[in-house]
């Protein structure tokens, strides 16, 4: 093959792959990410995780920290909640019932499924208990089952709220309980038709009066039609007493985890943005959520960058689109967020942990780790710092995929891993150091992904 043919072949290959080759990734962290031009070749970039067993390996944590698997053989753990007595609730399930509308859905669905666990979703809450505080969670019991793809969790006083894929439900909970008293009571139904993005994130306001529910879009970028997007891509504010709701923020493509900031009471979210615009578009973000705010989807991204795939266009909405606070990088797939506390050690005391499930739409995969975004004066300040890594090796073998992250106020980060079906616990201190005895935490509003700051 002469040189010209070679050049032509390379050009063709990169055209087919949507220019995956280069990957000199632009700096995409923080408030002002570089946004390259939109691109899409004939085939989207697809690099899917190749699952492998952990064996004797462990994820990597910073010097001076210890990681341990505290529960294995779960059935698709997604989000966790640390209860006042130190018990951990794990929501397990797999949702969505989106039909395959195009030949593409059949093919891409088959390929993407290879990067996930083959285990059937549990549709249950599992309770983990470490009674003597030695760091080993010797009790693993089903707290409630028969749920429908539970995801978001929040505790307000003696009420445990669970966001199923189709409804917000509640259980009565008293400290020390290991099994629900009975079936849950529905607070309100949630939009569930199709459920392309099925996860329903949940957080309770600091005073416990409202619940915030994250509802993802029903498509990547309206390819299921606009009628499928009624009441989608938004965050609901639900009155805990009445179940009445109103949209708190809209245009939020897929708000996969919510957290209320200790002290300020502000609502924060991690949001997954759209695919198939190139390896460095569109950044997933971490942002405080403004009441009544519109965040762009589907007509624009990162403020007013118009997405021509959403037609007819909507210039008025685009003009009102809010620029998110902090870019986490494109395609990292942030699925968990939790505010830290001084108990996590000086370097990680002020900021949020973010669980990144990892990319599919990128030839050079990103995510597949837990990062820490440092805060100063209540706002993100500085680049993300790797906190838990080693989920995906350079050889493409992937042993785990982080989802929900929760800070245990006693000084531990709980990480749910829905590929190896494991709950990981990261603690400050060297290996085998026993944790402090479980001291009761003041009861108050606690949410999956937020420290229970007892302001109630």
């Amino acid at each position: 093959m002469n040189r010209l043919n070679l050049v032509a072949a390379v050009a063709l290959a990169s055209m087919l792959a949507g220019c995956g080759g280069g990957d000199a990734a632009p700096e995409q962290y923080g408030a002002n990410p570089q946004l390259p031009a939109q691109q899409r070749g004939l085939l989207p970039d697809m690099v899917i995780a190749r699952p492998a067993a952990w064996g004797d390996r462990l994820p990597t944590v910073p010097q001076g920290y210890t990681i341990k698997a505290i529960a294995t053989d779960l059935r698709i753990p997604r989000q966790t909640l640390v209860l006042p007595n130190g018990d951990i609730l794990v929501a397990e399930g797999r949702g969505g019932n989106a039909s395959k509308l195009k030949p593409k859905d059949v093919i891409a669905g088959y390929i993407k499924a290879k990067g996930t666990s083959p285990v059937k979703g549990g549709n249950r809450l599992t309770l983990l208990r470490d009674a003597n505080g030695d760091g080993t969670y010797e009790m693993k019991t089903v707290f409630a089952d028969g749920l429908n793809a539970p995801y978001g969790l929040a505790l307000v006083g003696d009420t445990l709220y669970v966001a199923d894929q189709d409804a917000l439900v509640k259980f009565h909970y008293s400290v020390g309980q290991t099994h629900a008293d009975g079936p849950p009571v529905t607070v309100t139904d949630l939009p569930s038709a199709i459920n392309h993005h099925w996860t329903k994130a949940l957080a309770a306001s600091a005073d416990g009066r409202y619940l915030y529910v994250g509802i993802g879009s029903n498509s990547n970028i309206t390819e299921r039609g606009m009628t499928a997007e009624v009441e989608r891509a938004r965050i609901w504010q639900v009155d805990a007493q009445t179940g009445m709701h109103r949209p708190y923020a809209t245009g939020v493509r897929n708000p996969t985890a919510l957290a209320v900031q200790p002290g300020t009471g502000a609502l924060w979210a991690v949001v997954n943005e759209r695919d198939e615009l190139g390896p460095d578009l569109v950044p997933d973000y971490l942002s405080s959520i403004r009441e009544g705010g519109f965040y762009g989807w589907p007509w624009s991204y990162w403020g007013r960058h118009v997405d021509p795939r959403a037609q007819p266009q909507n210039p008025e909405k685009v003009a009102s689109a809010i620029v998110p606070d902090y870019s986490l990088g494109s395609h990292v797939a942030a699925l968990g967020v939790a505010f830290s506390s001084p108990a996590m050690g000086a370097k990680f005391a002020d900021g949020v942990f973010v669980g990144e499930h990892g990319s599919w739409n990128r030839s050079n995969p990103v995510g597949y780790k837990v990062v820490f975004v440092p805060f100063r004066d209540g706002h993100p300040a500085g680049n993300p710092i790797d906190f838990v890594t080693g989920f995906r090796g350079g050889d493409g073998l992937t042993r785990g995929r982080p989802v929900g992250v929760t800070v245990d106020p006693r000084g531990a980060l709980i990480v749910a891993d829905d590929l190896s079906n494991t709950i990981w616990r990261v603690t400050p201190g060297a290996a085998s150091a026993a944790m402090k005895p479980a001291a009761p935490v003041p009861s108050g509003a606690m949410s999956a992904g937020s420290v229970g700051n007892a302001e109630r």
Binding site: R40, P103, I221, E223, M226, R309, Q311, P312
Partner: protein
């Protein structure tokens, strides 16, 4: 003797006609759906186009294979058989690229998908024309 008459009468085998006509109809359907989606943004037309193209590619592949067989059977003039086969090949390749373009989300399929669908339909129609004209020139005995 009767057997020989049968064979010469079918210069264009009925099965070939089914494949070719099927491909033309399916690609034409995809084009019409594309036009409607382009005008209305109604996503279901985009879904229709994708499946019609997929169907056209399946049937069109058989039509192309039949054309290749025709190359070796010497019932058509050599040049006509070659043009016919190459036209079908071009139709199929462009149809495949069109299908990949249609795998994009929402309006990212436009306008490239519509333009490709027009070209594919024109090529398929020319192929059909040559096949039918070839049938007459080949001489039904």
């Amino acid at each position: 003797m009767a057997v020989i008459v049968e064979r010469t009468r079918w210069a264009f085998h009925p099965l070939n006609a089914v494949f070719l006509a099927g491909a033309v109809a399916l690609f034409l359907g995809a084009l019409l759906s594309d036009i409607t989606y382009f005008r209305t943004y109604e996503i279901q037309w985009n879904n229709f186009s994708s499946w019609l193209l997929a169907g056209g590619l399946v049937v069109g592949a058989f039509a192309f294979l039949a054309a290749v067989v025709e190359l070796f059977r010497n019932r058509w003039r050599k040049s006509r058989a070659w043009i016919y086969a190459l036209l079908l090949l071009a139709t199929w390749i462009l149809g495949f690229i069109d299908a990949l373009v249609h795998a994009r989300d929402a309006f990212a399929t436009m306008p490239a998908g519509l333009v490709l669908s027009v070209i594919v339909v024109v090529l398929a129609c020319v192929a059909l024309w040559i096949a039918v004209a070839g049938m007459r020139a080949g001489g039904v005995s």
